[in-house]
């Protein structure tokens, strides 16, 4: 939510250094202009969030409205002490770490291709982005068919694998299948964000490194990557938060069977399938908090100032 930079300023030089009356007036105008958007956001996001927070304090089933009772933080205690929550959190973190790691590497390679390619630029860039344009549910079904031992092709492509190997019969292969679908679908998004970072790396610096005799690897690790740190952080942050909330692929491919269910799926089951609004809301609040923690950790690990990442300084 940057407000000041967007307000129309006639004389930028005068506005910057001292806080004049005019700049204060402009700031106030900016606040007024942005107020409707803020209010709208509060209505559509803050209200549901507060409502979820409120509902999470009840033992409440949609099919038994008369039995609703206020139990303070009882739902949180139940959820946090239940081994099922920790099991699904573990599998969700696994999904997140593995898929983001693969996407970062493949995505970077794609970004380099998109950045450096000299012929058929439009076609190559577009074809790399195609998977991202496909609806997740559709890609989930496509990969489910691909991995199916009845009509899929994966079993026949992997040497040494029995033709009737059931990928969805056990946890490990099912998780791998879900991850493949997820990686295929979202790597283009990662490479798009990384491409933006690559474009920011000044050619002069690379030239200078070349002149100084830096090898290709040195130029990559000493010049390109450090200068892309902010872009990498944004890419990893976005993807990690998305991956942590993984739902569609699991829903389509295994419906949560064989212990493949993620924390989002667990929340969905409580709320939508079992009508347990109270515990479901508590789980979604916990999910929200864990997303905040992950975002915080990633920002800390990459030691990047968010304002810096947006080039506001």
């Amino acid at each position: 939510m940057t407000t000041q930079t967007e307000t129309p300023v006639k004389d930028r030089r005068a506005a910057k250094p001292v806080e004049s009356d005019r700049s204060k007036a402009e700031a106030r105008l900016g606040q007024k202009l942005v107020a409707p958007a803020i209010i709208l956001m509060l209505v559509v996001t803050a209200f549901p969030m507060l409502r979820a927070l409120y509902l999470s304090l009840f033992n409440y089933s949609l099919t038994a409205p008369d039995d609703r009772e206020f139990i303070w933080f009882g739902n949180y205690a139940v959820a946090l002490t239940d081994p099922l929550l920790w099991k699904t959190t573990g599998i969700t973190v696994l999904y997140m770490v593995v898929t983001v790691a693969f996407e970062l590497v493949i995505g970077f390679a794609f970004a380099m291709v998109m950045h450096r390619v000299i012929f058929a630029r439009g076609i190559i860039r577009t074809s790399i982005l195609v998977p991202y344009g496909i609806i997740t549910v559709v890609s989930g079904f496509a990969w489910q068919f691909a991995f199916s031992y009845q009509n899929g092709f994966v079993n026949s492509w992997i040497p040494g694998l029995a033709a009737d190997f059931n990928w969805f019969g056990e946890t490990t292969p099912a998780v791998i299948a879900i991850m493949v679908s997820e990686i295929w679908k979202t790597t283009p998004f990662m490479s798009l964000l990384l491409l933006a970072g690559l474009a920011q790396v000044s050619e002069d610096m690379i030239e200078a490194a070349k002149v100084d005799g830096a090898t290709w690897t040195q130029r990559l690790t000493r010049v390109i990557l450090p200068n892309m740190r902010a872009a990498i952080m944004v890419a990893v942050l976005f993807r990690a938060l998305d991956a942590y909330r993984i739902f569609d692929n699991i829903f389509v491919m295994t419906a949560g069977a064989q212990n493949t269910e993620s924390i989002s799926f667990l929340t969905y089951r409580q709320t939508i399938e079992q009508f347990q609004i109270g515990i479901g809301s508590a789980l979604s609040v916990l999910l929200f908090l864990s997303v905040l923690v992950i975002a915080f950790l990633i920002v800390k690990i990459f030691r990047v100032d968010l304002a810096d990442a947006r080039q506001e300084k």
Binding site: N59, S61, L62, T63, A64, P65, D67, I71, G74, N75, V78, A79, D82, L84, L85, G122, R125, T126, L129, Y132, G133, A257, L266, R269, Q270, I272, E273, Q274, F275, Q276, G278, I279
Partner: protein, 442 residues
């Protein structure tokens, strides 16, 4: 993905977009107009599950009157998806959900949530009169009628007469699960059941527990305070049957993922003596159809036998499962009187007979089994067996928390290969109690 692509083609695209916009406006207007009805005549929406849709469509038209039209809206095929879709609408007090086809276990849940209109007085008497005890029980909640029984489903033991004869099993007398499993195992046959982790597995467990004189939960109208009874002699007897089958040669290879369709093909295999199979009423028409297509011979079809659901405990009458469809009326409908009237019409005797004749979905009302059309389409003994099964059968627990109960049982009783009478009933009772008390996640 509109971002990708050059700016040179702005013109044709914007023209295209305009055309598309104009098109969608036309479609939208048409939809709105048709929704309103050209003469302002109200339309009742009837949400149906995808069974016998052709007959239902025909009855939607026949039951439409000068006052209102009935329009069919198709629900998804999975029971969970049907339930969540209806629940989402009803929880939001949707006034356009007028009639709905409900699985029996949804009735208590929906009625308790205040989503169903009661069939009061005469309407209640009209829809329940002459209905067999099994289906009748499914529409009652707190002694009131909340739905109109339309068709009823039950399971019987299907078997190859030659296999039973080879095993020396007298099928004119009630048989037990033990006898059937032994007979199948000793003669190269199998027993087909539904034991995947889904609702029909609970149907099987519930029927066996009822058959042993027990139940999964009782006092279900108390909601969360219902009494959990699964850890009992009856629960142990049911677990013992599952364990025996899982350890026996009579188990089919896909036991842990078996459903209603998986064992159908094993009745008339290329070689081997065939099987015993627990399955719903549709099995008969299914095999009869195979004779017409030439997949099995008439001689093989004549070898198909049917008997009452096996006993869990010798001497104790079995409790065949009861399923089917009940017609409920949405509590928030704009036209409650029309909807109640329409519900009675689509569950009428004529509709029930038509559904049985054309779609193989058996009537909920006993007298309809005597109709000449049904007597011609099915062997009279089979019709009688179905009637008795529905009359003496047992429904699954009627509770506002049924979804929790069912899933809790599934989570502890699946896989069937791990069921142990000494531990499974006790573990599932504890877990079910915790889930009902809100002390465990499911």
């Amino acid at each position: 993905m509109q971002k990708v692509g050059g700016g040179a083609r702005v013109r044709p695209r914007s023209r295209l977009r305009r055309a598309a916009a104009a098109g969608s406006v036309t479609v939208l207007t048409a939809t709105l107009l048709s929704a309103c009805g050209s003469s302002g005549k109200p339309t009742l929406n009837w949400y149906v599950n995808p069974d016998g849709v052709e007959v239902l469509t025909q009855y939607a038209a026949e039951c439409s009157t000068d006052d209102y039209d009935i329009e069919i809206q198709l629900l998804p095929s999975g029971a969970t998806d049907q339930r969540t879709q209806l629940a989402r609408r009803l929880a939001a007090e949707d006034s356009s959900t007028d009639l709905m086809s409900l699985d029996p276990v949804f009735v208590p849940e929906f009625a308790n949530a205040g989503w169903l209109l009661e069939f009061e007085g005469e309407a209640g008497d009209a829809v329940t009169e002459g209905v067999l005890d099994g289906p009748l029980d499914t529409v009652m909640w707190e002694d009131k009628v909340y739905a109109a029984p339309q068709w009823a489903n039950t399971q019987v033991l299907w078997y190859r007469k030659s296999l039973a004869k080879a095993a020396g099993l007298d099928m004119t007398q009630p048989v037990t699960f033990d006898q059937v499993i032994d007979a199948a195992a000793d003669n190269g046959g199998t027993l087909g059941v539904q034991a995947n982790r889904y609702e029909a597995y609970v149907v099987w467990i519930n029927a066996m527990i009822l058959g042993a004189g027990g139940d999964i939960v009782s006092d279900t109208e108390a909601g969360k305070d219902a009494k959990v009874d699964i850890d009992s002699d009856a629960g142990k007897a049911a677990a013992a049957v599952i364990q025996k089958l899982a350890d026996s040669d009579a188990a089919q290879s896909d036991l842990t993922v078996s459903n209603e369709g998986t064992s159908l093909g094993l009745m008339f295999p290329a070689d081997g003596p065939g099987e015993f199979m627990l399955n719903w009423t549709f099995a008969y028409k299914n095999y009869e159809g195979l004779v017409d297509t030439g997949d099995i011979t008439q001689e093989q079809f004549d070898d198909l036998g049917f008997a009452r659901y096996p006993q869990t405990v010798e001497g104790e009458p079995s409790a065949p499962p009861v399923g089917g469809i009940d017609i409920g009326v949405g509590a928030f409908t704009e036209y409650p009187e029309y909807a109640l009237e329409a519900a009675q019409c689509v569950a009428s005797d004529e509709a029930q007979v038509a559904l049985a004749r054309d779609a193989g979905l058996m009537p909920a009302r006993g007298a309809n089994y005597d109709s000449p059309e049904l007597q011609e389409a099915y062997p009279p003994e089979l019709l009688e067996l179905w009637q008795t099964s529905l009359d003496e059968g047992g429904a699954r627990p009627k509770s506002a928390y049924y979804a929790l109960i069912s899933q809790a049982v599934q989570s502890r009783w699946h896989s069937p290969t791990s069921v142990d009478p000494d531990s499974t009933p006790a573990e599932s009772a504890k877990f079910l109690q915790d889930v009902l008390d809100g002390k465990a996640l499911l």
